[in-house]
């Protein structure tokens, strides 16, 4: 049976940060942990994180991912020196990883991992997936995982990020640190179930940008014009030296959803982020076909709050009164300090955590501000951007 423990801290010294996380999460028993999942902001050295963790918990498998900030039971923190940990005890899990995953080989790389994982541990009933947030085709990753484990196995997780610069993101597995890596953890504890749901609270505006030329996950033209220039023009950033760091907060692109999915999602559009561009070519988060209409969006604060309350209510309903044993949480970095001030953000986090409290205690909680989120929509595993995605594991 798997047991979960969490902690978060903001500490300049990386090694001491690791030590504090382990001690706060597990007391003096951290030496016995079996799996350590770290999220840390980009100011930490990831090699130091895994080295220190391996020294303190020599029997544990270790994974880590970079992000723009963390959310733990202790609250929200968005700085260069954040660190959060979910420690797991028990052996009902398997871990696989890969390096050099990009948009063009996302399917193949993920498929290889999925096969190994399937072979390594029978009975996997949920998958925690984390990949680089830059230049990865996340739909293809989902497709590859589903091919091995089936559509019914829930995939949750996130894509790693830097501090919204779109420069690089890090993934670490055991003693190896990658810049274009991915890892997937298969949980195989039959007593556990997981509920996932995502929400964004943005509203589409104006006429759509029509993809007139694309290749895989790269958009080359909108409305017959070079994609990046057209995109900046529509955002009012034309003529400025704008980059992804400027476009991400305001440049969410909405894909139209079917009426059925719209109802479940609470929104007509599913959002996508652009985390990289090579000249005019924009790296979309999933495969994009020509003719796709993409709407610019604007945030709606009331909707953000009301939708948050709604998904938390729906998740708790589906749990049928059972207790959350751990909550994984992925939030879009654009929903962090670039969207809300600290007070509103903390209120938002409090509203998403409180319903899962048991005996006045927040369950172990590992959240991050990254580039993308995975959560089920319409009964299918789906990749999202600009959302808050909650993955509540319960028994």
């Amino acid at each position: 049976m798997l047991h979960f423990y969490s902690s978060s801290t903001r500490m300049v010294n990386t090694r001491r940060g690791v030590q504090e996380c382990l001690e706060s999460a597990m007391g003096n028993n951290f030496h016995d942990s079996d799996l350590l999942i770290f999220h840390a902001s980009i100011g930490h050295d990831f090699q130091e994180i895994v080295d220190e963790a391996a020294q303190l918990a020599p029997n544990a498998r270790i994974v880590a991912a970079s992000c723009c900030g963390v959310v733990g039971r202790e609250g929200v923190s968005e700085s260069m020196k954040d660190m959060a940990l979910m420690a797991v005890k028990g052996n009902e899990f398997a871990l696989e990883s890969c390096n050099n995953i990009y948009g063009h080989n996302s399917y193949a790389k993920t498929l290889e991992m999925a096969k190994k994982l399937h072979a390594a541990k029978p009975g996997i009933n949920m998958l925690y997936f984390l990949a680089s947030g830059i230049d990865v085709d996340n739909d293809k990753c989902i497709e590859a995982l589903e091919e091995v484990f089936g559509e019914e196995v829930t995939i949750f997780g996130a894509t790693s990020s830097d501090n919204m610069k779109g420069h690089v993101s890090f993934q670490a597995v055991d003693q190896n640190v990658y810049e274009h890596g991915a890892y997937v953890i298969g949980f195989a504890d039959p007593s556990l179930k997981v509920e996932t749901q995502a929400t964004h609270g943005f509203v589409a505006i104006g006429e759509p940008l029509v993809v007139t030329k694309s290749e895989g996950h790269i958009i080359q033209e909108f409305n017959g014009n070079p994609a990046w220039s057209e995109y900046l023009n529509r955002l009012g950033l034309a003529g400025k030296e704008a980059d992804c760091v400027d476009t991400i907060p305001i440049g969410a692109l909405g894909e139209k959803l079917s009426p059925e999915l719209s109802k479940e999602y609470g929104n007509d559009h599913l959002l996508r982020a652009v985390t990289k561009h090579d000249g005019e070519g924009m790296h979309y988060a999933t495969t994009i076909s020509e003719g796709t209409e993409l709407w610019l969006t604007t945030r709606n604060e009331d909707l953000i709050f009301s939708e948050m309350d709604r998904i938390v209510e729906e998740i708790t309903k589906r749990m049928h009164g059972k207790n959350a044993v751990a909550v994984f949480h992925a939030d879009c970095l654009a929903r962090g300090r670039f969207l809300f001030n600290r007070i509103i953000k903390e209120e938002l986090v409090n509203r998403m955590q409180y319903p899962f409290y048991s005996n006045s205690e927040c369950p172990p909680w590992l959240g991050m501000y990254g580039f993308g989120e995975f959560a089920r929509l319409g009964g299918k595993n789906t990749f999202h951007n600009y959302t808050t995605a909650l993955y509540v594991i319960y028994r």
Binding site: G43, K81, G206, G236, I250, R337, F338, L339, R342
Partner: protein, 573 residues
């Protein structure tokens, strides 16, 4: 009437409106960004406040500089922090580097120190951006550092914050905003480090005081409980404190002597000038001195005081006190005197023993040789009368030998046997001796004893008997030959606790030269003497044993008077 638009115009208006809406989003985002920036700067200032709070709780410099290094990163939001700390007095230097992988540390420190050395600033903060042309050579993209801050004369600290080329994209560029924050931070570091060092010095002083107090307690305990007298005086020698032992030895209480100089009430007139001078010179020169002086207690009792005086100086070398340790060594001094006396006696005994061995060998051998010669003559003699004469002479020699041995035994007995007290009548004893010795006189001699009362004495009867017998027999033996008016008169009188006995004769008398030596062992004053030379020597030893006196007055050819002064109850004399 409003102007009606054609569809193209209407579509263009729609597109314009659409752009306005999205541009509004970008303006809104700019406002959010500005708010975020202000909010974030508030966070940084809160971190500065947190640094102050945490730093003020710290006690050690090492912990503080580690916190400084971490806080540079936290507050200035740079990747790397470097702190150089130097404690000149302790010859300690510390370099703390934060935010760098171990393998990169040497290269980063080297480059930071190179930048500081090249761009060093006399005052304030210096920001250095390394040229992008040299990026391949340089590890660092930019660096800001403070001038060396001197905290007092012993401690200095230098701070630097930097971004590497590798990680620079993630970090805000080092600019005026970060320079201001860094500048404020440096000022805080200076102030807090100064506090820590002052606090450390205070703690050190407190520690020293506490240790000194403990030491003082111990010393006080020793000073109070020691059997030696302790005097603490000011630099002028005026008493500030004395211990119990001093009070017991001298009889003076602390309150009686405070403010006084010891010499004013302890020094005896009997203290030698040499000791007084020695002590005065040492005290004037502020030097330690050890001297034994004869002091006088409050009750007037004299005691030998072994005194060790040490001057006390403060940490600046100023003379502040004298500490004197005194010990009553009267018992030791008396013992020393006794030893000296015994030693003198031993020396005398040794000398006497030598003389004795010489004399005894001579006096014993002489009659033996005489006997040996006479025996040879007897062997060869055929004349019976001659043989008889030789036998008679052998008999005399044997008598002399026996006499010598008896006197030696008597002399030895006097020195070995304790004085035994008894009550007896001196006059009766002398009359009995006149009777016993009458056989010596070949012709009539006037022997008389005179006493003003019944002379009952409490003394050692045997010794007095031997004493009188020797003196009276000498008076009889050395009378003038063929003088029919010879006399030996003994006069006894009591003077307080002593009896004075004069033994007066009108015999040969003793020459002035011999008078000085007659009491020596084996000395014979008269050529006609047949004695051993031990008689008067033994008399003198007996008188000494009885704590009395013996005096001799004589005139050669006229007679001799020996005066004995014998204490009644000699053990108490």
């Amino acid at each position: 009437m409003p102007h009606s638009l054609n569809p193209e115009e209407l579509y263009q208006k729609y597109l314009d409106l659409q752009l306005r809406v999205t541009r509004f989003s970008s303006i809104e985002q700019e406002l959010i960004n500005t708010r975020e920036q202000l909010d974030h700067e508030l966070v940084l200032h809160k971190r500065l406040l947190k640094f102050n709070t945490e730093a003020l709780k710290l006690n050690s410099e090492k912990e503080f500089i580690q916190l400084v290094a971490e806080s540079v990163i936290d507050i200035c939001e740079t990747q790397i922090a470097y702190v150089y700390f130097l404690h000149k007095d302790r010859q300690e230097e510390e370099r703390i580097l934060e935010g760098v992988r171990k393998k990169d540390e040497a290269a980063i420190v080297g480059e930071i120190e190179k930048i500081i050395h090249y761009h060093k600033t006399a005052h304030g903060i210096k920001v250095v951006h390394q040229s992008t042309e040299h990026t391949e050579k340089n590890v660092l993209k930019s660096c800001m550092f403070s001038s060396t801050i001197d905290i007092g004369s012993d401690v200095s600290i230098l701070l630097a914050a930097a971004n590497s080329n590798e990680k620079a994209p993630f970090y805000p560029a080092i600019n005026d905003r970060s320079k201001i924050l860094f500048s404020i931070f440096v000022q805080q570091v200076e102030a807090i480090l100064s506090n820590i060092i002052t606090a450390q010095q205070n703690r050190q002083q407190m520690h020293t005081i506490a240790e000194a107090q403990i030491e003082l307690k111990k010393l006080s305990l020793i000073a109070t409980k020691t059997k030696s007298g302790v005097i603490i005086s000011d630099k002028h020698g005026r008493i500030e404190w004395v211990n119990n032992s001093f009070e017991q030895t001298t009889g003076f209480k602390l309150e009686e002597v405070i403010g006084k100089k010891p010499k004013e009430f302890l020094q005896s007139d009997l203290t030698s000038l040499e000791d007084k001078t020695k002590m005065a010179n040492a005290l004037a020169a502020k030097e330690s001195v050890e001297v034994t002086v004869l002091n006088k207690s409050k009750s007037g009792h004299h005691y030998y005081n072994q005194l060790a005086i040490t001057p006390v100086f403060d940490e600046k070398g100023e003379h502040i006190n004298f500490i004197a340790l005194q010990k009553d060594i009267t018992a030791e001094e008396n013992y020393k005197k006794e030893l000296i006396q015994k030693n003198t006696e031993l020396e005398k005994i040794n000398k006497e023993l030598d003389q004795f061995i010489y004399s005894i060998s001579h006096d014993l051998r002489s009659p033996l040789l005489s006997i040996k010669g006479l025996l040879s003559l007897i062997e060869t003699s055929v004349d019976e009368n001659e043989t008889k004469l030789y036998h008679g002479l052998i008999g005399k020699s044997v008598g002399r030998l026996d006499n010598t041995i008896l006197e030696i035994l008597e002399y030895s007995r006097n020195s070995r046997v304790d004085v035994y007290r008894d009550e007896f009548n001196l006059q009766n004893m002398i009359e009995q001796q006149f009777q016993d010795l009458s056989y010596i006189a070949e012709e009539g001699i006037d022997l008389k004893v005179f006493s003003d009362s019944s002379p009952i004495i409490f003394s050692d009867k045997t010794r007095v008997e031997t004493l009188l017998k020797n003196l009276i027999s000498n008076a009889i033996k050395y009378r003038k030959k063929n003088n029919f008016t010879s006399f030996v008169h003994v006069k006894i009188r009591r003077e307080g606790e002593v009896y004075v006995i004069d033994i007066i004769d009108n015999g040969e008398g003793i020459s002035e030269l011999n008078q000085k030596r007659v009491f020596e062992m084996f000395y014979r004053a008269s050529s006609s003497s047949q004695g051993t030379g031990l008689g008067l020597a033994m008399c003198q030893e007996i008188v000494k044993k009885l704590n009395g006196e013996i005096k001799l007055t004589s005139q050669f050819g006229e007679g001799t008077t020996i005066t004995l002064i014998l204490p009644n109850n000699p053990l108490n004399a």
